[in-house]
């Protein structure tokens, strides 16, 4: 009977046997608090993952994320020099008899009964003059769950599968992914391929509006629409020198199906005065193909580690974006570090983005006033403080500020719109607490 390590020291793992090639469990959690300027969106997002590692490099992982979001979000309409009124569907139990006040400064108004109508009330809210129209009644909760397993497989260094599910009040996503990686060159070179797919279901409150139909407080007959996504990522990771790690990835993605925001309007304004005449539900194409190239470099200079990454993105909606991120981790003694970071981002507008439509033009095939699809630049500045409480537990605090800079005064603005700020993007502050813990 050969002597074992257990005989030598009484059995079990002790001390610092954590890391690649050993058997241990890793717990990782984070809490994100996010708040936009001007009373816009606020979100709290706790999340946690648990990963069991094996000697051979096997990994079994479970993750859970919860999101609570509330606040005001732009509804897509442009500001006007007069007060504007917006309506959204509202379901109430029983019949509606009196007008009452609902949350976020809106009103519950009864609808006169008509044949085939599915709801008896509507939510009405007003926007003051010269103010960006926002819907204050925005609130949502999301739960997401993911699991994955990976291990060496035959000649492959690693093969893995993963699945995820996420559900919120008006949206559901089911994801599946698989990957293979192969190491060469005494593990200095790694090639990887991952394939990912997703099926999403949108079931908005009030139903799916017909494209470019008028703002309408009635529940729509179509209740849900789907979207499917399929993509792959090819990656090359290289340990170039003892202190330089490099990664180069190419991603391809294709989405088909319903990609419109079912709550968002686009204003139709008078071609001369710029006064709003009508609000239509937006319409986006049913197909979106995108590609991106990502290059990341990490340099370990001893007391500092520098991380620099660049991304170039392009899609069939006409969006082209460039991203650059830089962070510098500076060790303060053995146990703690600070890490300032900066991110610069620039995107062009989608080819169907419009600030508004006019009554003098024919309706385009697709149009959206969603600021996410507008041209803008964003900058983020962050600072992180990390504390290694024990060799296998770490507590991190990060904070940052995100700024969006866009054109609120397009050259071709007409009438009263010349005096309005048409850019609906906003700044946000975020705070993140992270906790990592390795154990057996």
């Amino acid at each position: 009977m050969p002597p074992t390590a257990a005989d030598a020291q009484g059995g079990g793992y002790e001390g610092g046997e954590f890391g690649p090639g050993t058997f241990y469990t890793e717990q990782s959690s984070a809490l994100l608090i996010y708040e936009e300027a001007g009373g816009r969106v606020m979100a709290i997002e706790p999340g946690a993952t648990l990963t069991a590692h094996g000697e051979y490099g096997e990994q079994l992982s479970f993750g859970l994320t919860i999101d609570a979001v509330s606040g005001a979000t732009p509804n897509g309409a442009v500001p006007a020099d007069q007060s504007q009124t917006f309506v959204t569907p509202l379901k109430i139990h029983g019949s509606c008899s009196t007008v009452t006040t609902a949350s976020g400064g809106s009103q519950v108004v009864c609808l006169p009964p008509t044949q085939g109508q599915l709801n008896s009330a509507e939510r009405v809210y007003k926007t003051p003059p010269n103010t960006l129209p926002v819907d204050k009644g925005f609130s949502d909760r999301r739960v997401g769950f993911a699991m994955s397993y990976a291990q060496p497989l035959g000649p492959l260094s690693e093969a893995g599968l993963g699945a995820g599910y996420s559900l919120e009040r008006d949206y559901q996503a089911i994801t599946a992914n698989g990957h293979i990686t192969q190491n060469f060159n005494a593990d200095d070179t790694t090639l990887s391929l991952s394939i990912n797919s997703e099926i999403d279901s949108s079931f908005p409150y009030g139903g799916i509006p017909a494209p470019f139909s008028q703002m309408d407080p009635h529940f729509k007959p179509v209740t849900a629409r789907q979207k499917t996504q399929l993509g792959f990522v090819v990656g090359w990771t290289e340990v170039v020198t003892r202190n330089w790690l490099m990664q180069l990835n190419y991603s391809f993605d294709s989405q088909s199906g319903y990609q419109t925001d079912p709550y968002r309007f686009i204003s139709v304004v008078d071609a001369v005065s710029g006064e709003p005449l009508n609000y239509l539900y937006e319409n986006r194409p049913g197909s979106r193909v995108s590609q991106s190239g990502f290059w990341e470099n990490k340099f370990d200079f001893g007391p500092t580690v520098t991380d620099l990454s660049l991304r170039y993105y392009k899609d069939s909606w006409g969006v082209v974006s460039k991203t650059a991120e830089l962070s510098e981790r500076i060790n303060l003694g053995q146990r703690s570090y600070i890490e300032p970071s900066a991110r610069w981002y620039e995107q062009s507008a989608a080819n169907f983005f419009r600030y508004y439509l006019t009554n003098a033009q024919a309706l385009p095939g697709f149009a959206s006033a969603d600021t996410r699809l507008n041209a803008f630049t964003s900058t983020t500045f962050g600072l992180k403080y990390g504390l290694r409480i024990t060799p296998r537990t770490e507590l991190d605090f990060s904070g940052g500020y995100y700024r969006q800079i866009g054109n609120g005064h397009p050259a071709d603005a007409i009438g009263q719109l010349k005096q309005q700020n048409l850019f609906a993007g906003t700044d946000a502050a975020f705070f993140l607490v992270g906790y990592n813990w390795d154990f057996h």
């Binding site: 002597p3 074992t4 390590a5 005989d7 001390g15 046997e17 890391g19 058997f23 005494a186």
Partner: protein, 149 residues
């Protein structure tokens, strides 16, 4: 510039003799162990499986030492400090040789960390194991026993 440096190192390592006269850092004199089975274990402070392997190496040295096994730990850390800290946390009951520039490692053609090189009584390399897996302790023990007989 990089190519010349690499060629210079290659020449030095190729021409280095396997039997140096003293146990300075970067040299390994196996003449002292002629006729014994030598288990060379290449380890580093940053290698997690190395921590797992040390209790087993101690057990091997204690149990099979009388039968002619010599365990030698070759440390490849760049700096002595982290290696000594590792040894404070994981005591070794076998001799340690320091190889900060990796000359011994290069001579034995390491492909991963940790690596164990099993040298028979005839002074020849009989097996090289890349990695240390608790599951394979029995196999490692069997390989050593075979050479001891």
């Amino acid at each position: 510039m990089r190519l010349t440096t690499l060629l210079a190192i290659a020449f030095i390592s190729l021409s280095a003799s396997s039997s140096a006269n003293s146990d300075e850092a970067g040299t390994l004199d196996l003449n002292a162990y002629a006729g014994k089975v030598v288990y060379l274990d290449f380890w580093a402070s940053w290698c997690a499986p190395c921590r797992v392997s040390f209790p087993w190496l101690n057990a091997m040295a204690e149990a099979l030492g009388p039968r002619g096994l010599v365990v030698i730990g070759v440390n490849v850390d760049h700096n002595r400090g982290p290696a000594e800290e590792f040894l404070r946390e994981n005591a070794a009951s076998f001799p340690i040789v320091y190889d900060p520039e990796g000359r011994i490692a290069r001579k034995y053609g390491l492909q991963g960390m940790p690596t164990s090189v099993l040298i028979g009584r005839d002074g020849k390399v009989h097996a090289t194991h890349s990695g240390f897996l608790r599951e394979r302790e029995g196999t490692y023990f069997a390989d050593i026993s075979e050479l001891l007989n």
